[in-house]
């Protein structure tokens, strides 16, 4: 007999389950988790190198470094004296909540205020996978071109913050920053937007302040949750 069964089941339900477990664990320990996403070479690691020294005096921070291959990025972060665990996906183009679950054994989670996950450099795939983070920071460099929010919309749609990096290159580029900002605003009207340049430190302090506030809110446990739009994904 042939039967048609109507169903509505989320494809990524298993990942979402693991993500909720991670989030519950972070919540119970008062740890804020931020997922940093962006294309390869957009400057995620450089931005973390610039922002982390501004946080470590007041916040206990650790970083999970997601990468396809090599431990180079993790070494750069570890050189700042920040506890770092490498997550190698061996060619996998994104991190999943289960990757993070395993890696949590390698960071001192119960002695942390803030856990930053640097995702695999890729503007498309990682945006599909909730890791259990409380907030997403999307990074986009001006060197990539002004049309990227429209080409990689999911990267921005669930972001609570966006950093436009490498702004020190703007004088050398034909780049309409206003257009990028308008496209980002439409995708994530409530996100904080930072225009940054890691080498000079321009715009890095407002980003550091955003991270401080986010992690202060979490130190009263269960105080933060993701925005409804993100939680329903």
């Amino acid at each position: 007999m042939i039967r048609t069964i109507p169903i509505v089941r989320k494809l990524l339900a298993r990942n979402e389950h693991a993500a909720s477990e991670n989030r519950a664990r972070f919540g119970a320990l008062g740890v804020t988790c931020v997922n940093v996403l962006g294309g390869a070479g957009c400057g995620k690691t450089a931005l973390l190198e610039a922002v982390l020294p501004r946080l470590t005096a007041e916040r206990r921070v650790a970083v999970l470094e997601g990468d396809l291959a090599t431990t180079r990025d993790a070494e750069r972060i570890a050189a700042l004296g920040v506890p770092t665990a490498q997550l190698l996906t061996d060619g996998g183009c994104h991190l999943t909540a289960t990757h993070v679950q395993h890696a949590l054994e390698r960071v001192p989670l119960d002695a942390l205020d803030l856990l930053i996950i640097e995702n695999v450099g890729n503007p498309i795939c990682p945006a599909n996978f909730d890791l259990g983070e409380h907030a997403r920071l999307a990074v986009l460099s001006v060197a990539e071109g002004e049309d990227k929010p429209v080409k990689y919309p999911l990267l921005f749609k669930d972001a609570q913050a966006v950093a436009i990096s490498k702004c020190d290159l703007l004088p050398h580029l034909r780049y309409d920053l206003r257009r990028t900002l308008a496209d980002i605003r439409r995708l994530c009207p409530d996100a904080a937007i930072f225009t940054t340049a890691a080498p000079s430190g321009a715009g890095v302090e407002p980003l550091a302040e955003w991270l401080r506030r986010l992690s202060a809110a979490a130190s009263a446990p269960h105080n933060i949750s993701r925005s409804p739009a993100t939680a329903s994904r």
Binding site: I2, T4, R9, C93, H94, N128, P153, K157, R186
Partner: protein, 124 residues
């Protein structure tokens, strides 16, 4: 290339549902994928074929239903389906202030074959 990852999840939950229904074989799998997921149909079909090997979905046909991105007009508040990122309200011509939907990623229907002896007598 997140299609393979998505296809594996799809085959897994389709298999769960098919087993729950006592199916011997899945004939058709219908999923709904939002525009923002940036899933390529051709790659998704190939990935589904790979992921379905030696499962109840092995010979199943994959149907992909596309969910559009919608915009909420900043002027009149009307919600409209956007085509090619054209974010201007078709009625009052104001730009959309917010984008809605487009992130769907669901299994929505299965067509399965169940052995005849499982048929409920009342349905015969």
């Amino acid at each position: 290339m997140h299609e393979l990852s998505l296809a594996r999840h799809l085959v897994e939950i389709a298999g769960d549902e098919a087993r729950r229904a006592g199916a011997a074989r899945v004939r058709r799998v219908r999923c709904r994928i939002g525009l923002l997921r940036q899933v390529d149909d051709l790659l998704m079909r190939e990935a589904f074929g790979l992921a379905a090997r030696r499962t109840l979905c092995e010979t199943a046909e994959l149907e992909i239903e596309h969910a559009p991105l919608r915009g909420r007009c900043g002027g009149c508040g009307r919600v409209f389906a956007m085509v090619d990122w054209h974010a201007t309200c078709p009625v009052c011509h104001t730009e959309a202030e917010r984008l809605l939907g487009g992130d769907e990623l669901d299994l929505v229907q299965l067509e399965v074959e169940t052995p005849d002896d499982q048929d409920h007598p009342d349905c015969a």
